[in-house]
């Protein structure tokens, strides 16, 4: 059975940050935080592992660079060599300076687009996906923290109110 969670709602990102730090200090487990905008430093405060998106970006960039080189080698050198501006396409290296802007652009293009797509998929967001956030106000101006309930529900409720939560949602007893 999934652990029950309390949902605390905050209306300021600074209050949210200090609340998250306090909850972590008190050894509560934070399931998830929903915010209307990226809150700087929240990932560190929550103790999330370091993102690996940078590694994927590097790899995608390498793919883009390779694609551009192979593509232009085929188009400009092998398939249909032309003499542009007195520089006949005899070989890739010889004409390389002319290709550098395209190599750069495709590297950036692949890295950027594939990185965004990866991010969406990793966040389990795809077209026609139902929104997962428990309260629609987190897309407007409220911040929601899901905290796993420990042994003492009352203590957690008090703690959340103490940290500045404007609402605390307690699931109904079964």
């Amino acid at each position: 059975m999934a652990a029950t969670t309390f949902k605390a709602i905050y209306n300021d990102d600074d209050v949210l940050m200090s609340a998250v730090k306090r909850l972590r200090y008190e050894k509560y487990h934070i399931e998830e935080v929903y915010t209307p905008f990226p809150v700087h430093g929240l990932d560190k405060a929550m103790g999330l592992p370091h993102t690996r998106i940078a590694i994927t970006a590097f790899l995608y960039g390498c793919v883009g660079l390779t694609v551009s080189v192979v593509m232009m080698n085929y188009i400009m050198i092998e398939d249909w060599p032309q003499d542009i501006g007195g520089k006949p396409s005899f070989g890739y290296l010889e004409n390389m300076p002319a290709f550098v802007p395209i190599m750069f652009e495709l590297t950036v293009f692949f890295a950027a687009h594939l990185m965004v797509i990866t991010f969406y998929l990793r966040s389990r967001m795809w077209p026609f996906k139902e929104a997962e956030n428990p309260d629609v106000r987190t897309t407007d101006d409220h911040f929601l923290v899901e905290v796993e309930v420990g042994n003492d529900e009352e203590a957690l409720k008090n703690l959340l109110l103490e940290t500045g939560a404007v609402e605390v949602h307690v699931p109904k007893k079964k």
Binding site: F58, F90, L93, E94, V100
Partner: protein, 523 residues
Amino acid sequence: MYTFSNRLRLGSYIAMAVGLICLLTGFLTAPSNVEEAKAIVASSHGDDHGGAHGEAGSHSTEGYGGTVTASDHGESHNGEPTNATSDTMKSEHVVSHENTTAQGENHAVEGEQEYMVSSGHQQSHTEGANHGETHGSVSGHGGSHGEEAHGGTHDASHDEHLLHQLQNRPWAALYVAAFFFFMIALGVLAFYAIQRAAQAGWSPLLFRVMEGITAYLVPGGIVVFVILALSVMHLNHMFVWMDADVVAHDKLLQGKAGYLNPIFFLLRAAIFLGGWIFYREYSRSLSLAQDQSDDNSYFVKNFRWSAAFLVFYLVTESMMSWDWIMSLDPHWFSTLFGWYVFASMFVSGITTIAIITIYLKSKGYLEEVNDSHIHDLAKFMFGISIFWTYLWFAQFMLIWYANVPEEVTYYVARFQDYKLPFFGMLVLNFIFPLLVLMNSDYKRVNWFVIMTGLIVLFGHYLDVFNMVMPATVGDQWHIGLPEIGGILFFGGLFVFWVFNALTKVPLQPKRNPFIEESRQFHY
């Protein structure tokens, strides 16, 4: 308060002394007449000369420095390579390519007009068109000497030219090193002024370090000025346009004489240096006064002066790069040269800030500086390295593509005689920092930033080397006693002056309005 450690001080003295000895040796062993010059070249041909730039094709450039006379410069030699390559039709490409290459190898040995082809795997069609032009008329400075040139067709002007190149070598080595360390201080001054003008919150903790480095502007600027003044007094042949004989035979230089003349040249240099040094000293005094003040008026004043300085700097830095470096090749010009030199000095300056900050931290000073500050400096190192490459490539690609004879000569000289430093510099200044500083975590590892920084600094020394040497010593370059001596001497002077300046005041500003933000800075 920082105290200059004795070991560092002693180290800087030793570096200066050894450097001075090497430099003097360089000056004393420079040939004083044509016979000595020929003897030097003959003896060095067997060993290091061949090794240093003995790439295939680079020695096949018979006599374009010496045999083309000064009056030739108007015409461009559209040699065979241009026609051979550009007229080929699509279906014949492979065949004609092989032909051209084969031709090139033959002609390289014969050493006539077709010399271009053999080295032309990068630039076969560009090179044919332009050699006779610039190098001939600028009395052959930067011209290169094929091996054949020393066997067969000598003439007196060629020998004279060789002598000048060899005589230039210690001067050029001195100038490259003097300019390089001066440029670091100037780059730091620009970075400092930007922090001031932007009212940056992260950097005030580093202001005293930056001010310490910019203290070197005074001795460094004076040395560079003296070298320029000695050039004007004809103690060397680095700036060919200073030679009245050359100008008398050169239409292009006559046209530029209104700008490129010795008096105006020195006057400009004095204005540039005066302006930079004035801003440095004044901003420093405002910065110190702010520490004793009880309001922010000095801070605001410093902000205004810094913004005004940046305008002055961007104009004068650009002109300085034309005067002090671009005019070494007085026929050649590039409109973004000033930016290119700026990028080089900016990244060298930021790297030096990072290195000195980390050094001071390791000695227990600057406790408040944390890894996030180092991280930001390393991000700048990374970013400006890419920026430098962007400018380098923007300059190169347009010239390569347009293929205008008087422009491509600049790169032809470097491709042929400077393969190792020229391409090595690209690896050190672009590929190396790109791969090594890309990872976010590595930018926070202090020793890693230091090691990377030293390599980047060496790369930018090579950059200056590549800017100055081809025009002054041509293919007679080595990294030998005078070059190393120059680095040691000015490196020692730089360390001595900078760390001495750092001992003068506490390393942390007290009353800067952003000091608290800087202390709390985190990434």
